[in-house]
């Protein structure tokens, strides 16, 4: 949002972005598969800003994009409307877990951002207060010095707020924000895994449909369904040999069934590999979560400790200054 409404080149924005990107790179580095990806290697070595082109795909020997007739159809049509038929509780739990976690983070981020705003305002007010007390010192000639010192001191106290807000924003808020994005990425992966399972389920269903058709053809010789009935009638009319037609149909079905069997096996393998990988990824996700949040909580706590420690010290030192606000006692009344 800041990109749109704020200053794209302001140092604060750049610093935030730098911190976010750093987190991103850190996460890739920790990942055994991603960190060894040739794309990543190329990215790190790039001395020019280039986009990955198709020739690069071939050069790298991209084997991911293997053909599967039903892949495209599945992903565009079937999977858009189909849910997993036999959902695995394991993966449902994973998704719900991530959702809950993400939800909490979103709410917490909101409140923290609000609190940081309030604290910035507080810092500003203390700045004003310092100036006002200094001005007061100018007109109270008997106590100008202590008031001056107190007023100046308040300016340094105001700075404490600024430091705290900057540190918190950069470390904690950015960290939480990035983790929310990570949750989204994890959910995407889970969705993809679901799609693979859907592929498998759909193909299996299709295979079974064809198998039963073949069996029926074997036994009755008639084409299935209303259109089959009309097709047979037309063939009769045409004078096609019903036995020949049946044999043709059988061989066509057999071929299809063979194809489908291959596809189903492939898809099952893919789905299983995907699921295994996802389980591993999820474990990694949880480890990362633990690691990241330990860091986040630690840095947040450190920021609070620094602020309150310096704050307590400041007010202690000011106590001595203001204790000295006094005038010399009244001159002795001479009669």
């Amino acid at each position: 949002m800041e990109y749109v409404t704020g200053d794209r080149f302001s140092p604060e924005f750049l610093e935030k972005r730098r911190a976010s990107l750093q987190l991103f790179i850190d996460r890739i580095n920790r990942h055994s598969i991603l960190s060894t990806s040739p794309y990543y290697q190329k990215f790190l070595q790039a001395d020019q800003m280039v986009l990955v082109s198709s020739s690069d795909h071939q050069a790298i020997g991209d084997t991911v994009r293997d053909s599967n007739v039903f892949d495209n159809i599945g992903e565009v049509f079937i999977n858009a409307f189909t849910k997993v038929k036999t959902p695995d509780d394991k993966y449902v739990e994973m998704k719900e877990g991530i959702d809950k976690f993400e939800n909490n983070l979103v709410n917490i981020e909101k409140i923290h951002v609000k609190m940081l705003k309030t604290q910035t305002e507080l810092g500003h007010e203390f700045q004003l207060l310092g100036g006002a007390i200094e001005s007061l010192g100018k007109m109270e000639t008997q106590i100008t010095e202590p008031l001056n010192e107190f007023g100046q001191g308040l300016l340094t106290y105001a700075q404490l707020f600024k430091d705290k807000v900057t540190a918190e924003d950069l470390d904690y808020c950015t960290g939480i924000h990035e983790f929310i994005a990570y949750c989204e990425a994890a959910k995407e992966t889970l969705k993809l895994r679901d799609q693979k399972q859907v592929d498998f389920e759909e193909l299996t269903r299709f295979l079974n449909a064809n198998s039963s058709e073949r069996d029926r053809t074997m036994s009755t010789g008639k084409s299935p369904g209303i259109s089959g009935f009309f097709k047979d009638k037309i063939n009769d009319f045409k004078g096609v040999d019903p036995e020949k037609a049946r044999q043709e149909r059988l061989s066509k079905l057999d071929a299809k069934i063979d194809d489908l069997k291959t596809a189903v096996n492939q898809s099952e393998e893919t789905a299983q590999k995907f699921s295994t990988q996802v389980t591993q990824e999820f474990e990694l996700f949880n480890n990362v979560k633990l690691y990241d949040f330990k860091e986040l909580f630690r840095s947040y706590t450190d920021t609070q400790l620094a602020f309150h420690e310096k704050g307590a010290q400041f007010w202690e030192s000011m106590l001595n200054v203001v204790d000295g606000i006094q005038i010399a006692p009244s001159p002795v009344i001479q009669e």
Partner: protein
């Protein structure tokens, strides 16, 4: 008297000495605007304006006492009523209490069925203990009485009658809002202690009776004779004429009061904003703490750390609430008091200004009359001389040269014996001059006395103000330090738990 000499017109008894007291740029200035972030006004007046001149004659000590309370109040040190904040006592609520306290504020129903708040006042000095109950209007009446009976003193302020804001929020219920009642309690208590410690005001017998609580206030008021019940009119402030020979010390005092009042008003505005932001922070902290606690229930390995984060947020919340409420009590209240106190001083200086004006006016009248007399006498002298000359030359006395002026001509027309008239005027004028001189002298002495008393009161006020400023700022430091310490403790505990997360 050499008219080129620079003398104070008040000390010279010769009204004709029209000496002009020189003073640099101390002409009464326009009221500076309210919002002055940096002191940009032309007002350079400082607290020096309130300092006592070393030549100022000291105040006379009190010799007679009206009752036992009077004697006790006079002998007790000021700090009994206005104890200073001790840096050694961290919890501000544990600080020493003053001798006069308002212990309670209770709703009471009077005969007519109307309800009001009665404040229970306890006096505890030495071997004297009194308890009394008074409502707000009685405090107001007491203060008006003090203002009337002690015109040379700036009387300590009481909280305002109706807060416009509170009225707008919930009319009718304003007087019953607990926060407003508590604030009033504190400010009224402060008022009583300030009066009790004031060398002049503490001698007011009605004040003693007020504290003793044996006589109802209405009786006390009637006993003391006719008293102006209304608040002194502020309308008079607007139309005061400028003095011909203003007293520079009082001009400086007036300027300084305005300057100080503006600055304190500004500081109070900032204070209110700070408290507002602390309240906002507390509200957010409440939501945040709840979130963390809920979150910790859905996690396993992070659960303890998240819960601890929530705990620290809750602890900080409690500390923040203490912080802003004590700030309001110890800092905000006192700032409000001094803004009103400045108004009281301005009133006082205004009264003095009027008295000074009166003196100038009567001096002027005197000068006029003296000049009139001079003219009359010189005319008389002239005519006598002429008559003498003519008598020598044996001629009958001829009428005098035509008198000047319209009135004189008119008189001359209707007058049968201008000479007799003139001699009559001369003797009348002489009489008038004598009485004016006596009046002027009385007023002059009164004014000198008033000036001296006011000087002493301003000095006393300034000393107390410095002490109060110290107390205010010490309180601010103590309560903030306490807040930070509490928060520090809470976050240290959290850090320990966070470090234990097993990755």
């Amino acid at each position: 008297m050499d008219s080129s000499e620079i003398t104070d017109p008040l000390t010279s008894t010769d009204p004709l000495s029209n000496s002009i007291v020189s003073h640099a740029d101390e002409t009464p200035k326009q009221q500076p605007e309210e919002e002055i972030p940096v002191d940009q006004s032309n007002n350079e007046a400082t607290s020096v304006a309130f300092a006592l001149d070393p030549n100022e004659p000291p105040e006379e000590p009190k010799v007679s006492f009206c009752c036992d309370l009077d004697r006790t109040l006079t002998t007790m040190p000021k700090t009994l009523f206005l104890p200073t904040v001790s840096v050694a006592i961290t919890d501000l609520r544990e600080q020493i209490k003053p001798a006069i306290t308002i212990e309670d504020a209770n709703k009471v129903h009077d005969m007519a069925g109307k309800s009001f708040i009665a404040y229970l006042i306890r006096v505890d000095i030495d071997n004297l203990r009194f308890e009394s109950k008074h409502r707000y209007s009685e405090f107001e009446s007491l203060r008006n009485l003090l203002v009337h009976n002690y015109p040379s003193v700036a009387v300590p302020p009481i909280p305002e009658k109706h807060s416009v804001v509170a009225y707008a929020a919930k009319p009718g219920k304003a007087q019953q809002d607990p926060k407003i009642i508590l604030k009033r309690k504190r400010l009224l208590q402060s008022f009583l202690n300030r009066v009790a410690s004031h060398p002049k005001l503490q001698g007011c017998h009605e004040f003693h009776l007020f504290l003793k609580g044996e006589t109802p206030w209405s009786d006390i008021v009637n006993m003391s004779g006719p008293v102006i019940r209304r608040k002194p009119s502020m309308a008079a402030l607007v139309e005061t004429k400028i003095l011909k020979k203003p007293d520079p010390t009082f001009v400086a005092a007036e300027d300084y009061t305005v300057r100080f009042s503006n600055q304190i008003t500004f500081i109070r505005k900032i204070h209110k904003k700070i408290v507002g932001y602390y309240v906002e922070t507390a509200v957010s902290s409440m939501d945040l703490g709840a979130l963390y606690n809920g979150w910790s229930l859905t996690e396993q390995s992070l659960s303890e750390a998240i819960e601890q984060m929530g705990q620290a947020v809750d602890s900080t919340l409690t500390a923040t609430n203490t912080l802003h409420s004590v700030l309001d009590e110890r800092f905000g209240d006192c700032l409000s008091e001094y803004i009103k106190y400045s108004s009281a001083i301005q009133s006082l200086l205004q009264t003095r200004h009027k008295a000074h004006l009166e003196f100038e006016q009567i001096s002027e009248s005197l000068i006029n009359k003296q000049q009139q007399l001079q003219k009359l006498e010189s005319t008389e002298h002239e005519s006598q001389r002429l008559a003498a000359v003519l008598a020598v030359e044996g001629q009958p006395p001829i009428p005098l040269p035509r008198p000047q002026g319209f009135m004189a001509q008119l008189n001359a027309l209707i007058d049968n014996d201008p000479e007799a008239t003139r001699r009559g005027s001369i003797s009348k004028t002489k009489d008038l001059i004598v009485s004016l001189e006596a009046q002027r002298e009385t007023i002059r002495l009164q004014l000198l006395d008033l000036n001296s008393k006011i000087h002493h009161d301003l000095d006393r006020f300034q000393r107390q103000k410095v002490s109060d400023l110290r107390d205010m700022f010490v309180s601010v430091c103590l309560v903030h330090r306490d807040y930070h310490r509490k928060a520090l403790e809470a976050w240290r505990a959290t850090k320990e738990v966070v470090e234990k997360i097993n990755t």
